[in-house]
Each structure stands twice: as structure tokens, then as C-alpha cells.
Symmetry: C2
Subunit: 208 residues, 2 copies
């Protein structure tokens, strides 16, 4: 399959969320225009996004809410459960461990690591915090699919390197610093300070 734009995949996630809402409301079919309105995009965009993966609609009718949900879940890999580890159980890591939104989508936190002795052994949301030094051994014994990095900036790259060495293929970085991974590893970064800076820029330049 040819390469799909990141923006497309993001929008698919949005569409899925809308479809699930519609499903709950008992709506049976939906048009590209309706999905577009919910997501703040255009009907052409919706159709183009979906067209990369196949034909899901019926001309004149729209899309079956149930069928399209199912297809999107398959495409996005949400039909299986994903095992997640979090490194760093401080403010951010702790909040992530307790965040229920992950669990609802099939992402299960199975390991929590921290370097601070004080936290090791405490239980957060049912998971016991392990010593960060056991990272390699723990991941070897009980592997995970995705690792979340929630350590301080200056430790981030080193932790990422260790995680990559264990063979993990997907990393979500919350440290406010860009980290580098081999091209075989998928990396996403969430940088809240960066988002604030973008808003500051927008305010200063009253761009719209």
C-alpha cells in the first residue's frame, strides 16, 4: 500500500469517534458531508481520506455507521488490545497511568517505571511502580507494544535509547525535547509547552 499522510490517519481517528457517537444515538447511515461538519473539514476530504483504504459508502445513501466503524477500527488497529509501559511515574507519568481514555480504546498500562526510590513500590491505578533499572529485564519477560516516555528532558534520550534496544517498535514521547529513534521505530511526541508557544505566537501576530 502506498504511503498514507499522517493527517489522514488522524482524521480517521476523529471520524471513528463520531461514528461511535452516532451509533450510540441509533443513527444508521451518515454522509460524508455530515461527518465533515462534525470534524470541521469538507466532504471531499472525508471521501478522499476513506478512498485510500477502499470503498465503504453507497452512492446516494452515504455510509453505514456500523460497517464504517468496524472498517476504521480494523484500519487503525483498534481491534486488538495493546500493551503499554510508562517510564516516569511523576506528575505526567502518573496522570497518564490514571487516564481512563487509554483503557477505553484498548491500550492497557502493564508496567510503570520510575528512577526515584520513593515512588518504587507504590501502586498507581492498580499497577505497581517498578525500579527503572529493571526496565530491560521486565520488558524482556513481559513485552509491550508501546512505551510512553514521561521522564525529565535530560533523561529522555537515554531512556528512549534503552527502550529501543529492547526491541519496542512504537514510542510516545511526553518529554518537552525532541528525541531521535531509528527509522524502524515509530515515534510521536506530545509537547504541551510547544503548543502554548504556538498560541503565544498566534496572539502576538494576531494571525487567524
Amino acid at each position: 500500500m502506498k504511503h498514507i499522510a499522517e493527517s489522514t490517519v488522524r482524521r480517521l481517528s476523529d471520524y471513528l469517534r463520531f461514528l461511535e457517537e452516532l451509533e450510540q444515538q441509533g443513527t444508521r447511515t451518515v454522509s460524508s458531508g455530515e461527518l465533515a461538519a462534525l470534524g470541521g473539514t469538507t466532504s471531499a476530504q472525508v471521501r478522499k481520506d476513506l478512498s485510500f483504504f477502499g470503498s465503504f459508502g453507497k452512492r446516494g445513501l452515504g455510509y453505514s455507521v456500523a460497517a464504517l466503524s468496524k472498517s476504521l477500527r480494523e484500519i487503525l488497529g483498534l481491534e486488538r488490545q495493546w500493551r503499554v509501559a510508562i517510564v516516569g511515574a511523576g506528575k505526567i507519568g502518573g496522570a497518564l497511568a490514571r487516564y481512563s481514555g487509554f483503557h477505553q480504546r484498548g491500550f492497557h498500562v502493564v508496567h510503570l517505571f520510575d528512577a526515584a526510590g520513593a515512588l518504587v513500590g507504590t501502586v498507581i491505578d492498580g499497577v505497581t511502580v517498578k525500579d527503572e533499572r529493571t526496565l530491560e529485564a521486565t520488558l524482556a519477560a513481559e513485552p509491550v507494544d508501546i512505551v510512553l516516555i514521561a521522564v525529565p528532558s535530560d533523561a529522555a534520550q537515554a531512556v528512549v535509547d534503552r527502550v529501543v534496544k529492547t526491541g519496542v517498535r512504537a514510542i510516545l514521547n511526553f518529554a518537552p525535547v525532541p528525541v531521535h529513534v531509528p527509522s524502524t521505530v515509530s515515534l510521536r511526541s506530545v509537547n504541551m509547552a510547544l503548543e502554548l508557544e504556538f498560541l503565544a505566537y498566534a496572539l502576538v501576530n494576531h494571525t487567524r
Copy 2:
């Protein structure tokens, strides 16, 4: 000034971080190639990004670390302090309030709101949680520049609408649902579940 791409502004934030690191290390000048290596981009990209705002380098030499830092801080609006309010003092909101990264960059949390009676009156990181019903009155008396939304999905749009009505011009949304604002308001969204879904997609499609 013509429109600057969002991606450009994001990279400028990254460059600034690198420059500050270099400054601490005592480095005086840096080339576009060196900045590019740090940020995982190309030297042409760095030069093009900067060229939108002026000429900052010396041919043959590179950029003065100190001078470029200063220019970037001006461009990004980081020379002044920004007043921030957080709506929702639960897991996410609480973690955001305690997150020190904001403060370091000149973003100061001056109000914290929550709808749950149990939290109102408690103090988080020096800020007393106020009743969400006082949002309008509080923001009228002591305005802020930016509001962070950390309420549950189903309350997000309503809170955003109220915040917009008070005249706030920049909103950072952490609720895992797209919200809509008038075009006069700058909006950014951080959706952690979405990032995980993107990684799941990448794993399933072993795209690189």
C-alpha cells in the same frame, strides 16, 4: 506579513530550545546544518524557516547563538509573561497545574476551575481551585491570555463556548474530542489517545 506555516512555527520553538542549550554550553555560533541535525531536519529547512522573518546569519560563519535566541524569543512572543487559566482540575488539569515546564517559559497559571464541589477550595501548586460557575466573573475581574480545557469530553464544547464569550483569544484543548471556535480565536488540541491510535496504526501497517 504573509502567512507562516504552522510547521514552521513549531520548528522555531525547537530551534530556540537547542539554542538555549548551546548557549549554556558556551557555544557562540551555530550553522543551519548543526541546528538541523539537532532537530532532525535539513539545513535548507532551517534557513527557509528563518528567512520568513529576516536575515539572522552571516555567510560563511553561521548564526550567533545569543542573537538568534533573542530574535526567536521575540518572534514567538516569549519575551512577555502570559496569564493562563485551567478549566478542570481533575487528573489532567491537576497535572497541568503542577507541570513546571509552563512556568519556565513564562506561562503562569493564575486560575484553576472545577465543577466538582469536592475540589473547589483545595490548593494545587499554590492556586486555589475556584467553582467553575464563577468562570465568567473571575475572568472578567482578572483576565487571562490563554485558557486550557481539561474537562470531560461531553462538557468540552460548552466550556469552550463560555470561555470564548468572555473574550479569550487562545485556547488549548486537552479533551479528547474536537471542539469548534470562531475564527477569531486560536485553538490547539492535544489528544493523547489520538497519538496512541496513530502508533497503533503504524504498528499494524509497519509503515516507517
